[in-house]
Symmetry: C2
Subunit: 404 residues, 2 copies
């Protein structure tokens, strides 16, 4: 007996924003089904459903109970799965919709940002056995008390990848209104090219740096379970980007992409006493306050005092500024300076850092453009420079032009 391949597909809210689009998605699913695949399809809430529900919620409460927020928002995907199943059935195919609670996508108790603990496959396999196209609500699960939970940002992508891992799927396809991963933001650099293949780590760096196609969380999950992801547009049939499916041995020293992130704030704390563990104390405190620190540099000054400079995002500055000021006082540091007009530009590529001179080349290109580098961080697959925000687009253009 030959096993039919099992494909997990995920369609975002824009792909199913109205019934005309839902019918087109039904056609796409049926097309793959007719080629001899078992189909499990994950969908988000339709178009602006979530915004509409949140508007109602805000009219009632400024600080709604996270459990009730999940009760409210999980209806969005439930509407989608019912309608998509009906659309598939109307074309003469068998389909069944399942909510997160029906599948039993078991999560922890953290409403609005739950993590998947376990997926029960039995109902899905039962339905697949009956040749049905199985349509599953993304973004949602159920906790140990049978209360509905949501997975937070990137939730539907995460549902799709987790299902692919749990079901042992042969392929996981993530469809949105973007037709793949590009070497840089096409709105900034017209020469930007679609990337055919990219490693998990490169994708992680690109995603977290601003290429908002796939949430890092779902990429991490895909990497952990070696699930190859296909990223494509639901509006056309062009080839997209495959994530994690290639062996990069032959081309390790290429730059894969150039990104920038304008959501950076530079915080400089001056005259931090040079005591062992003081930096640890500072950053532990910030972590406890939920402030996510990105780049960090520390310079020892002559007077046995340090300057510590780091970056956070604008949201964390807004909600955490008092915590940072308190931290400065506790560690006995001097003045604090905040600069919100900065941006980070990065080049990403698997094993790139081992290529001699790649960092130097990046700095030279920026130097030729008379762009001053304020901070530098490097990892195995990424080199990032903090520069002035108004120079970010020009920096990305120059780096992309020279390195790709």
């Amino acid at each position: 007996m030959i096993e039919m391949p099992l494909i997990v597909q995920k369609y975002g809210g824009t792909s199913i924003s109205d019934t005309v689009r839902i019918k087109k998605i039904a056609d796409r699913i049926i097309n793959k089904y007719n080629k001899g695949n078992k189909m499990v399809v994950v969908v988000s809430a339709m178009g602006d459903t979530t915004d509409r529900l949140i508007k109602l919620m805000n009219e009632l409460s400024s600080n709604p109970d996270p459990r009730e927020v999940d009760m409210l928002l999980t209806t969005g995907e439930q509407v989608s799965i019912a309608l998509l199943s009906m659309a598939v059935q109307a074309k003469g195919y068998k389909a069944v919709s399942l909510t997160g609670s029906q599948v039993r996508i078991e999560t922890d108790d953290r409403h609005n940002k739950a993590e998947i603990m376990n997926i029960n496959n039995s109902r899905i396999f039962e339905e697949l056995e009956e040749d049905k196209i199985v349509v599953i609500a993304g973004f949602q699960g159920i906790n140990s008390r049978n209360d509905f939970t949501t997975l937070g940002r990137g939730g539907s992508d995460t549902t799709a990848v987790a299902l692919a891992a749990s079901l042992g799927a042969d392929r996981c396809e993530i469809y949105s209104d973007v037709d793949g991963i590009y070497t840089t933001d096409p709105r900034v650099v017209s020469e930007a090219q679609k990337i055919d293949n990219i490693s998990y780590d490169e994708m992680l760096e690109l995603a977290s740096l601003g290429a908002k196609v796939l949430h890092p969380r779902s990429v991490e999950l895909a990497k952990a379970y070696s699930i190859e992801l296909f990223i494509g547009s639901s509006f056309n049939n062009q080839a997209g980007t495959t994530v994690g499916g290639i062996n990069r041995m032959e081309k390790r020293n290429n730059v894969t992409g150039v990104t920038h992130d304008k959501d950076e704030v530079k915080i400089s704390i001056e005259q931090v006493p040079d005591q062992p563990g003081i930096a640890g104390k500072l950053f532990s405190y910030l972590a406890e306050c939920g402030i996510n620190v990105d780049m960090i540099i520390q310079n020892l000054q002559h007077n046995n005092k340090n300057d510590i400079t780091f970056t956070i995002n604008h949201e964390d500055l807004k909600k955490g500024k008092e915590h940072i000021l308190a931290a400065v006082e506790v560690i006995g540091a001097g003045n604090m300076e905040v600069d919100t007009a900065v941006a980070k530009v990065s080049i990403v590529g698997a094993g790139m850092i081992s290529t001699p001179g790649i960092a130097a080349r990046m700095f030279s290109i920026l130097g030729q453009e008379k762009i001053n580098i304020q901070m530098i961080t490097t990892s195995d697959i990424k080199i990032s420079c903090l520069i002035r925000e108004e120079e970010a687009d020009r920096a990305v253009q120059a780096l992309h032009h020279e390195l790709l």
Copy 2:
């Protein structure tokens, strides 16, 4: 230890059609809670939510799978319970929402028209123990396969009554935009008066005859479990109507109400062979075809042939006309005549039929109005006459004026 009284309330879709109304309903619930009651609140979908979902559904399928219809429609009440819980919480009170599946309102498998088999009280009692106001989705349940079901017409009322029975509630209050049961339709007869107390059986006759305040199904359930129902408006605090809470021994011969039903079609089948069991054969066949027969009369003619006349509603005529024609052929009858311009007027009152002369008075009143009676049926608490449709309002006015 003194047990606090437990009240089950139900609010219909009009009562929670927007967030302004939801806040008002929250106030009403909190008001009763603050008087020392445990509160379990059943709600329907908001205002026109169901219509909006059905519109989407119709754009996708002319004949949607009933299972998927239930998957779609159950989101309506889920939105309501989340929002109402948030509204209660925003006023500083503890609340929790539960869907039919979370409570485990177990039903049979008949999607779109399921019947409740069993209700699991444990989660509700747990939440009540924590002093929470418990908000439960009406109209919905779960079958043995954990698929969502809906209860069909009158579903939310039925949920409320079933919960009141299952929880052993002290009171069951059904709120809508109507402030009680009237002696007749106030739009037809300006003298119509609100009824303070009514028996289950009278309510059943009034409800099924057209006073569309409370679905007969929920009244039957209330009768079976001796649950006293309070019917009132969610828009004011006026006294409503109590159903089933009184002993009518003293006032058995009063007429309680006058109703009319214009949704009647008279079917006359002529020259039915006078064979034993032929009427049974005819009506069994119609029942199998899902055609609901209301009034029936049969006249034996001289030639050993019968005329059989019966009434059905317009919907059943539309979908069942071919079945009826087939039946006429099978039983070897003659012609069939259909008259859609008829209406049924009825007087209802507990034990009324045992009052000598009450039927005669009804016929006299109609006679004085020169209204011809085409068919008559009687039950223990109801006398109905089929008349011409255009005379129905006049008949109701005259009967109400003379008898109430």
